[in-house]
Symmetry: C2
Subunit: 157 residues, 2 copies
Amino acid sequence: MPDPFPVPIGLRLNQAARAVGRAFDEALAEAGGSLPVWLILLNLKICRPGTQRELAEAVGIREATLTHHLNAMDAAGLITRTRDAGNRRIQLVQLTEAGETVFLRLRQAAVAFDEQLRAGVAEAEIATLTTLLTRLTANVAEPPSADSPWAGLTGSH
Amino acid sequence: MPDPFPVPIGLRLNQAARAVGRAFDEALAEAGGSLPVWLILLNLKICRPGTQRELAEAVGIREATLTHHLNAMDAAGLITRTRDAGNRRIQLVQLTEAGETVFLRLRQAAVAFDEQLRAGVAEAEIATLTTLLTRLTANVAEPPSADSPWAGLTGSH
DNA sequence: TATTGTTATACTCTATAACTATA
DNA sequence: TATAGTTATAGAGTATAACAATA
């Protein structure tokens, strides 16, 4: 007699992502960070976004939400915001020394976590997984406007 | 020149899960529900848990968090809580007619969503994905105590 | 008027700690 | 004392709407 309620793949994905995400959160917290902070630092290093709008899009959150996090990061001494002389509407977000330090620490935590995560999983399997995730995402995603390599953090919560 | 920052599989998983989860949230919201409500209804139907503690474990949340949701579901007329005559500490949670209706509607939404999600993905590929997700989860999960088929909703948010 | 960003406010989900009632 | 559940409180992350400043 077949299972009348096979676990839907979406729910299975949700379970896995929550378990993995929770573990990642803990790893980042131990390193003194959080997922949003890590993604913001990462995008600052990689994309060098010109505006906060670009940064928010890259991270996958709203501008107001980004301001929220930047305020905290500013208070923590991780970033500075200075007006662009050429266009005073623009805030130039830059890492402080402390921000660089935290970035390196979080990167180390992220790398270590990823090693643990993929332990015993072959490169080809990771590639397969990536492909499948991309296909599933495409199936339910609205018209993808995200061109940032790191886009995708959108969540509701 | 190789990418100095290949997207870690954990982050890729997180992206996919957020995108898919967000879409699922929207689908459930359109059907008048939410993920926690759906999981609670589902577990009530499937596991027939004897206590709220069991239900909370099955859903993957704390008892107090469950009470929070049950209060809302009670106020919305989806469930009733009645004391067990044999052991008056125990609350028997039961679906009302309205609760049954919402359950059916959410199930329909969930099934439709899953069909959309796996469109064009072969059964074997889904199986592969499930296996890989399980392996990744096992790599970073703390000693799994969850024996419920639906366990895993834990999240931090 | 349009753009950039902030402030104010609030929602959802979650958690811990302290409590009541029952056993 | 232990168990079942609730209440009180709080925190993280997110969002929308209204706003100020600049262009």
